[in-house]
Subunit: 682 residues, 3 copies
C-alpha cells in the first residue's frame, strides 16, 4: 500500500486557476485567502487540459508551475489531477472517435464533460501523453502529494470500439457460444446466438431485457472503466512509482430522497487498483423529507462503505462549504452545519475535508455551486468564516490522521446483487430497494453509536461478531461456504427474503434452494409474497405485533426454530423469523421486510449479548452520533449533535477534550450542531 507523506488532516480542495489567468490579482489573492482559511492542500488540473495543451502537442505549464511553487512556499501540498474528464475541443474535433456514442447509437460531439469513449485507442494514447507530461514535470516536486486520476468516472459508451471490446470480453469469459447461450438462457424467445458477430451491446433497439446479458454488461462497464484507468496510470506508475493514486468516487440519489453509493460501477473492484479511496460527499442537509439525523445516518453509511472498501482511512475529495447547484432546491448549510458535517467525515475515517471548490466561477453551468471564496471575492462572508474556523480546528486534530476505525458488526453489500435486483420483472419493481433496506438495518446501529463495516461478500468477514446480509440475492458458491464457515465458528448471521435466490448468471437454482443455505438457515423458502404499498401483514414476536411491508417470504422450517409468525392472510401462523443453530453460531432468516420497530427488538438482545454497546456515555441519543477512531493507544471520540435542539449526554468516565485540552466529566451539553472531540487513553 502506497500512502502519502503528510502528517496533517488535509484541508482545501479543487482549485481552478486556469479560469483566472487573465486576472493576476485574483491569483494573488487566492493564496492570501488560503492562508486565512487554514487551507493546506489544493487539487489542480481536473479540467485544465485545454489550458495545459491548447493545441495538439503545444504545452503550457507556467501557470501550473506557479501553483506548485506558491503551495510549496507556504508548506502546502498539491493533489495533481489528470485531465481526462474534460478533453479540449480540438481533440473532439480532430478525432471524433473520442466522443461517446449513446445507447441509441447516436454519436455525441464535443460538449459537457465525462463523456469520452473509454475504449478509443486515440483517446487512450492522448491521455497517456498528457499524463506523461504532467508526471515528468511535477513527479519530483516536493509539493506533490498524490495523483487524482481523471474525475468521477462513470457512464457507458456504445460505439463500435466498445462493441468489439464487449464481444471480446464475452468471448474471453465464456469461450463458446453454447456457454453464452446457456448462461444468458438464450433459447428463451429463440434468441440463441449462432455466430459471435451477433453478440452486440444491449440496446432498446435490439436486445435489452436479457437479464444475464444486462448483468454481464454492467460487469463489462466496470472492467472497461478500470481498464481505461489502468491505461491512464501507466506513465504515472512508471515515473512516480512511490506516489499514491486515487480517483474520486460518487454517491447518488438526492432528489429522490435517497442517498446511496453509486450503483453503476462496482467500486469494490475499482478499489483494488487504487491506493487510496476518496469520494465526493454531498449529503442533502436540511431537506424537507427527513429529520437531520437521518440525513446524517445515510451520509455515515456511505462514509463507512467507502472506508470499508480498503478498511483504511479515506479522503473526502469534494464537498461543499455551502450549497450545490444541481438539486431541485439548493439550500445552503445553516450556520454550524459545515463544521458538523466536516467533523462527521473525520469521525468515519476521512483524513481530509476537501471542497469543490475553492473559488466560484463567474459563469457557465456551475456558477451557483458553493465555494470557499464566493463571487464577492471576500473573506467577510459567513461561508468563508466558517471554513476558516473549521480549518483552524483541524489543526488541533492532527493526531487522528491515519488512525483506523474498528467495528465488530459487518453489513454485506454486493454490487452484482444490486444490479440483478434492479433489472427485469417480478415482485415489486419500485420496492426492491436493496441499499435502502441495508440502510434501515444500519440505522439501528448508527443510532446506538455502534461501529459498522460495510463489506462485499468477497471481503473477509470471518472475524466479525455479527454479519448482516439481507437480500443477498445473487450468491456465489464460495460465499455460501464462507457464510457457513462463519456461522459454524460462532458467528451470527442475518439473511432474508431474496437471499441466495440466483446464481452468478442471475439464474434460478433448479430444484431446492442450495443445500448450503438450507443448512445455514434451517428452512426451505416456498413463496415470496409481494405486498402493494399500503398493504401489510403482521409478525407476532415475543407476544407483540409488528407490521410487515413490501415482501413476506413464506418458508418452511427444517432444522430451524420458528421464533416469529405471520398473523394473517393465507400464510397465517407460518414462520416469519427462523433461528437456526449451526456449529457454534446462529443464523437468522427474517422472511419479511419490517419497519425499524421490529429491527430494534430483534437486534437489541444481540448487541447486549455481544457487548457491542458504546462505552463512554450512559444513554445514547439517536440524534447525537458518537463515532471513534483509534491508534491503539488512544481512542478519539466524535460526539456530534445532528439536531436543531440542545442535547445532553452523561459521560461514564472523564475524557480529554482534544481541542481545549480540558478534562470533561459528567453531563455534557451540546448546542445545536455542536461537535466535541474527546480522547481516551487505552
Amino acid at each position: 500500500m502506497k500512502t502519502y507523506n503528510d502528517t496533517r488532516l488535509l484541508h482545501g480542495g479543487d482549485y481552478n486557476p486556469e479560469q483566472w489567468l487573465a486576472h493576476p490579482e485574483i491569483l494573488k489573492k487566492d493564496f492570501e485567502l488560503m492562508d486565512k482559511a487554514h487551507v493546506n492542500t489544493v487539487t489542480v488540473g481536473i479540467f485544465s487540459w485545454s489550458t495545459l495543451e491548447p493545441e495538439e502537442g503545444v504545452y503550457h505549464f507556467e501557470w501550473l508551475d506557479k501553483v506548485f511553487e506558491a503551495m510549496h512556499k507556504r508548506n502546502g501540498r498539491v493533489i495533481l489531477a489528470t485531465p481526462s474528464g474534460g478533453r479540449p475541443q480540438w481533440l473532439s474535433e480532430k478525432y471524433p472517435e473520442v466522443n461517446r456514442t449513446n445507447i441509441l447509437g447516436q454519436k455525441h460531439h464535443h460538449g459537457f464533460r465525462h463523456n469520452h469513449c473509454y475504449t478509443s485507442p486515440i483517446y487512450r494514447k492522448k491521455v497517456q501523453q498528457i499524463n506523461r507530461q504532467l508526471a515528468e514535470r511535477y513527479g519530483n516536486h516536493p509539493a506533490l502529494l498524490m495523483w487524482h486520476i481523471s474525475n468521477e468516472y462513470s457512464g457507458e459508451c456504445y460505439c463500435d470500439f466498445c462493441a468489439e471490446k464487449w464481444r471480446d470480453w464475452v468471448k474471453d469469459k465464456y469461450q463458446t457460444l453454447d456457454a453464452v447461450n446457456d448462461a444468458w438462457w438464450m433459447t428463451f424467445w429463440s434468441n440463441s446466438y449462432s455466430s459471435w458477430s451477433q453478440v452486440v451491446p444491449p440496446s432498446p433497439l435490439g436486445e435489452h431485457k436479457v437479464h444475464g446479458m444486462d448483468l454481464d454488461w454492467k460487469r463489462f462497464v466496470t472492467d472497461q472503466t478500470i481498464d481505461f484507468f489502468l491505461n491512464e496510470i501507466e506513465p504515472i506508475r512508471e515515473i512516480t512509482p512511490n506516489l499514491p493514486v486515487t480517483t474520486n468516487f460518487m454517491a447518488e440519489g438526492h432528489d429522490q430522497q435517497d442517498f446511496i453509493p453509486l450503483e453503476g460501477l462496482d467500486y469494490s473492484r475499482f478499489a483494488e487498483v487504487i491506493d487510496i479511496v476518496s469520494w465526493d460527499s454531498y449529503p442533502d442537509w436540511h431537506n424537507p423529507y427527513e429529520p437531520l439525523h437521518l440525513t446524517a445516518m445515510k451520509s455515515a453509511y456511505i462514509h463507512d462503505q467507502y472506508r470499508s472498501l480498503k478498511k483504511q482511512p479515506f479522503l473526502v475529495m469534494e464537498s461543499t462549504p455551502s450549497y450545490v447547484n444541481w438539486h431541485a432546491y439548493n439550500k445552503a448549510k445553516k450556520p454550524g452545519m459545515h463544521i458538523l458535517s466536516g467533523m462527521q467525515q473525520l469521525a468515519h475515517g476521512s483524513d481530509s475535508t476537501l471542497y469543490f471548490q475553492w473559488r466560484q466561477s463567474l459563469g457557465n453551468s456551475e456558477k451557483f455551486h458553493g465555494a470557499v471564496v464566493g463571487h464577492d471575492n471576500s473573506e467577510k462572508n459567513r461561508v468563508f468564516q466558517e471554513v476558516a474556523t473549521y480549518g483552524k480546528r483541524l489543526d488541533t486534530l492532527a493526531a487522528i490522521k491515519g488512525t483506523p476505525k474498528e467495528a465488530k458488526v459487518a453489513i454485506l453489500f454486493d454490487w452484482e446483487s444490486n444490479w440483478a435486483l434492479k433489472r427485469g420483472g417480478g415482485f415489486g419493481r419500485p420496492t426492491r430497494r436493496y441499499i435502502q433496506t441495508l440502510q434501515e438495518n444500519y440505522r439501528f446501529f448508527w443510532e446506538r453509536d455502534i461501529a459498522v463495516d460495510i463489506l462485499t461478500p468477497n471481503q473477509d468477514f470471518s472475524d466479525y461478531a455479527l454479519v448482516i446480509a439481507p437480500m443477498l440475492y445473487l450468491m456465489q458458491e464460495d460465499t455460501m461456504k464462507e457464510l457457513s464457515e462463519y456461522v459454524k465458528k460462532g458467528g451470527i448471521l442475518i439473511g432474508s427474503y431474496f437471499t441466495g435466490m440466483v446464481n452468478e448468471n442471475d439464474q434460478l437454482h433448479l430444484g431446492e434452494w442450495p443445500q448450503t443455505l438450507q443448512t445455514i438457515f434451517g428452512l426451505l423458502p416456498q413463496e415470496l409474497e409481494t405486498l402493494y404499498p399500503g398493504e401489510h401483514n403482521q409478525i407476532l414476536y415475543q407476544g407483540k405485533s409488528y407490521q410487515t411491508k413490501d415482501y413476506c417470504g413464506i418458508v418452511q422450517e427444517t432444522t430451524g426454530k420458528v421464533i416469529a409468525t405471520y398473523s394473517q392472510d393465507f400464510y397465517v401462523n407460518t414462520p416469519a423469523l427462523v433461528e437456526n443453530r449451526l456449529g457454534q453460531g446462529t443464523a437468522y432468516y427474517l422472511a419479511a421486510r419490517t419497519d425499524l420497530d421490529f429491527l430494534e427488538v430483534f437486534y437489541q438482545p444481540m448487541i447486549e449479548k455481544l457487548a457491542l454497546q458504546q462505552e463512554i456515555v450512559k444513554d445514547t441519543q439517536p440524534k447525537v452520533s458518537i463515532q471513534s477512531r483509534t491508534d491503539g493507544q488512544h481512542n478519539y471520540y466524535f460526539l456530534m449533535n445532528f439536531s436543531e435542539e440542545r442535547q445532553q449526554l452523561e459521560l461514564l468516565q472523564p475524557l480529554l477534550d482534544l481541542e481545549t485540552n480540558q478534562t470533561l466529566t459528567g453531563l455534557l451539553t451540546f448546542a445545536p450542531y455542536e461537535v466535541k472531540i474527546l480522547k481516551k487513553e487505552n
Copy 2:
C-alpha cells in the same frame, strides 16, 4: 367453420422443451408431472425457431417429434405454433430488412420478440418455409389438435417496404389524390397532396395529427397484420385443410387500473380469418384499486367480447397459475383464486384453461413469470397442487365442452370509433374512456347475472331484446339504417353523447345530425359540455337526483319525450335523457355520463319488462356471479363467489351439482372464492 377433434376441456399450455434439451431428466419429469396435473394439451413451438432451424435451411425436429409421441402416448394433444413471433439471430443478421423500423425511422437490430417487419418479402418467404416444414412433418400426426399462428400479433413498422405498402393501400382505397385530400381534409394547414410520392406513414417527424390519416393508418395496420397472417397460413391451409387455426389475442391496461381488449388491432376483422378465437387472459386479481368482483367483471367483459367475435366457444390460450412478471407489483393468486378464475373462463364460453407456462425458465426476462412447474421442479408446492386439483375438476365438466352461451342483451363496440375517439383534440382528452364506459354499462348486467354479447356494429344485432350503444362516435350509414330497422321492429336502443358524431373519415356531418339518427332518437344535439374531474351536474329523474361526470350533452328534443333533465348550470332544465318511440320500439338517448346509481334506475325497469332476469336464484348478489352455457337440452350454471367472504344464495328450484352428482336445493353457502357448477334439464 373448422373445429378440432377432442371432447375434453383443454388443460395445459405453453411448453418450451427447447429450453431444456441439455436436461433429458427434466424432459422426462415434465410428462410425469403433466399426468399428475391432469394436463391433456401442450402448445409448442412458439419461440422454437432457432432450435428448429439453427442454421438457414438446416432443420432439427427430433426433439419435437418426441413431444408429439409423448403426448400421443398419453392420449394428449398438441397445439402447434408457427415460430414467427421470435426469429433466429441468423435471420436478423443475414437479412436486416426483417427487423422492424420504428416511427422515428430507427432501424432495430435483433432482439426481444414480436418485432419483425410484417411486409418484408424475405421474412414472409422464410416464415412460409418453416411453416411448410412443420405442416409437412406434423400435419397428419394424430396428436395435432390445431395451429397456433405466431404469437400475440401487434405493433407497427415504418420501413420503406411498409411505407410503399401504405401508399398502395391509400391509392387502392381512394383512387385519386383529390379523394385522399377530401377524406383527410388536407387543405387544412395547406397540406394537400400533389403527388402520390408525398403519401408516407404518419410520424412525429412529419405528419402526425391528421385525424383521417391516423384512422386509416390504424386500419392499414390491421390489414397488413392480417395479410401477414394470411401469408403464414398459406402452406398450412394447403397441407392441413381440415385443421383449425387460431392466434392468441390480447388484452391490455393492468397497471393503469384498466383491463380492456387490445385497442391496436381490429379483432373483429381478424376474427373473420381464423377458425377459433383464443386469447391470453391476465386479470390483475387482488389488486389494491378495486374490490375483487370488479376485477372479475372486467375479466368477464373481455371473455364475452372475444366469445362474441364469432359467437362460438373460444379458448383461453394463456393464463397464469400464479403471478405475472410484468406488473409494477406482481402478486400471486391466493389459494382458491386459481380455480375460481379458471372456472370463470369456462363460464363465459371458454373450452380451455391453458397456461403460460408449463415450466418456469431459469433465466432471462420472464424467469419470474408464474408456471405450473416452478423453479423447485416439484409437485409439492401450492401452485402445482391447485393446478392439479383444477385439472381433476375439469375432467368432470367435459359435458360443457362446445356448448354456446345465450344472451338477449347486446353492447355495441367499434374499434374504429375507439381509434377515432382516442386521437386528436377536443373535449376531455383523459376522459373519453369509451371502453371503460361500456364496462360501466356491462357491470349493471353482470352484477345481476344477465348474459351480454358484445358485438361490433357490423354484426347482426336484430334479434336482441336490448342494444346498448353509447358513444358510437364513428357511424357508417349502414349502421344507422340497421339501428333504425332494429328499433322499428320492436328493439330497445341506448345511445348517448358522442353517438354518430362523425362519418367513416372521422369527419363531422355538415349541417344537422344525420336525419336517420334524429328519427331514431327524436332530438337534435346542440352542444357537448366537457366537465373537469370533480365537476358535476345533476340529472333529475323520477323525482331523484343523480350526479353526472365528464360529459353533459345539451340537446333539443323533437319527437322524443324528455324523461330526465339537468338541475343546474346554463342548460338547467334541458333534457338529459330522451325517450323516443319509433315503430314498435324505443330509443333512449342518455345525454350525459353518469355513475352506476343512475344506470341502475334506468335499466332496472327494462330488464323487468323484458324479463331478462336470471331464474335460478331468489336474489342475485353482485359479488356472486352466475353465468350459464347451454346445449339446448341442459343448462350449465356456474355460481362463482368473487369475494373474500362467505356468501349465500337461495335456489328457486332443485339443481344437480355437476361435479358431485348430488341434487342441491334451498340455501346454498359459498366459501370465499368457491365455485359450484349446477345443471338443469330443459
Copy 3:
C-alpha cells in the same frame, strides 16, 4: 408609424374558403352569415399556399379575388396573410432543406405546420415569390386593410444552414474566440474554443449547459426569426409601402395553470419591426384551478404587456367564440362569457375582436376548435347568437377605436432575464417563476382598477410614478443608470432578491454588487436562502407578521432604512425590506418573496400617496374590473363583472352609458359576466 384606414372596431377573423372550394353553397352562405354576425373583417391566406400555388410557379387566385370582392361589396375589409406558416407538400418534397432539423439533428419531412427552416435560402426565396404575387395582385385593392405576416412564428432549427448562421452571429458579436471564451466562461470544464469551426448550436448531444451560450442562442433565435420576417416583407414594403404589417404573437401555459406571454421570442425586439402589435388570446376561462377573476387578471396582464410593446392600441388577431381543442379539457365559454372576454380585450387597448375561426373544419386536427359557424352550419346556435350580439354592440362602441390607455405604474419585464433565470442550476429550479411573480404584483393593481404598463428595461420609464422591477436578474449598465436617474428625479422603484445579479453574459459580478445598485437600494446582498415548498419564514412589518415563500434574501443595509425584518431562522432580525431615499425618490428592496397579503400592505400607502386610485366608483371590487381608454376629451370606462355572482358598484359621478346613451348614477348592479361601458367628458 403606419396605421390602417378604418374607423370601426374590427370584428371577424380567420377565414379559410380554400377548404370549401368544392362547396359553392357554403361560400355563399358564409357572407350571408357574416352579415348576420356583424362581421366586418376577414383574415385570409394563412394556410392557403397549396391552394394559391398548387404546383411550383402555377398560381390560382380566382377564389381569393372573390373573397376580396365580396368583402368590398359589403364594406368589409381583408387582412391578407402571407402563407409561409404552412408550405405545400411539393415544396418540402422538392427542396428538403426547407424542412426543420430538430435539436437532435433529426431532419423532419413534410407535415404539421410552423416548422420550416428560417435560414434556408430556397425557402426565403420561395416565400418572397409568393408574397410578391400577393402584393402585386391585392396591394391596391380597396378592401385590403393590412398584412398578416406568416402565423405564430416560433421554434428553432438546427440544420447546417442555421449552424453556419449561428457561427456567423457569434463571430459578428464577439469578433475573437478569446472574447467568446471569456463571455461564456469556457475554461470551465476545459471547453475553450480553439477554432471557429467548433462553434455549433447547443445540443443534448454536445454542449447544452453553457449558460452564456444558451442565452446567446435564444437571442440568435429571436434575431433569425426577425431576419426571416424581414425577408418576408421585402416585396411587401416595396409594393405596398403604406400598408401596415403585423404578425400574431402568442401566449402560453394553460394546462400548467399559467397564462403568460410567450417566453421563446423576445417580442420587444420583434415589436420594433412591425407596425401594429397583434396577438392570439386564449385564456382558460372556467378552469377548475382558480376563480374566474384570476383568469381575467392573467389575461389582462398579457393584454397590457402587448399593448405596452408599442404603447399603442393593438389587435386581438385570434380568439375563440367558444372553446379550443388543445387543452386537456376543452370547456366552452358559458353564456355571457364571450361578450365579457371580448370587451376585456377592448378595455385593455385592443381595436379588434377577431376569431380563430370563422367556420369549423369538418376534418383534421382542429376540427373541434370553436368557430363562429359550427358544423351545424346554422345561425341558430348559442355561439353564433352571442357572436352576433357582440358584433352589434361593437358597432355602438366605434368611438373608442384608436384611443390609447394611460398608466402611471410600470412593471418591468425582461425576456433576457427570464431566459437566464430559467436556465441552469442553483436556487429552486421549480420556483424561479419570474413572470408569475410579476403577475402577483400586477394583481394588486388590477384588483384596484389601477392601470399598469408592462415595459422592458429598454423602454422609457422615466415618467411613471411607480416602477416595479422585482427579479430583474440580468441587468445592463445602462439600465442601472436609468433606474438611478429615475429614482433621483423622484421616482419610486421596487427591486428584490435576484435583482441585478448578473451581467449581460449571465455572469456574476466579481466582488460587491454593482455600486450603482448599492446606491439605489442602500444595501449589500449577502446570501439568497432558498426555501422548499411548504417552508416559510415570517416578515415582521408594522407590527404584523407575513409569510415568506421560495426565497429569502439576506442583506446588510448601508444607507437604507430597515422597515421590515425576518422573524426566525439564522437570519432572524435581519432586513427583509429596506427603504432608501435617493435624491427626490425612494427605492425599496423587498428581499423575500411574499404572498399577496404583504404586497397589499406594502403598496396600499403608495397608491394613496401617489393618488393612483381610480376615481369613478366608491369602493372597488376585486372581481369587477374597471379599465379605461381615453381620447383626451373623453374617458371610456369598461366595468366588467368577472364573477358568477351579482355585484354592485356605487358611481361617484353621473356617467353616460355608451351603448344606451342613458346617464347612470348611484348604485350600479351587474349581473354575472355583465359589462357596462361608460363615458366621461374630461
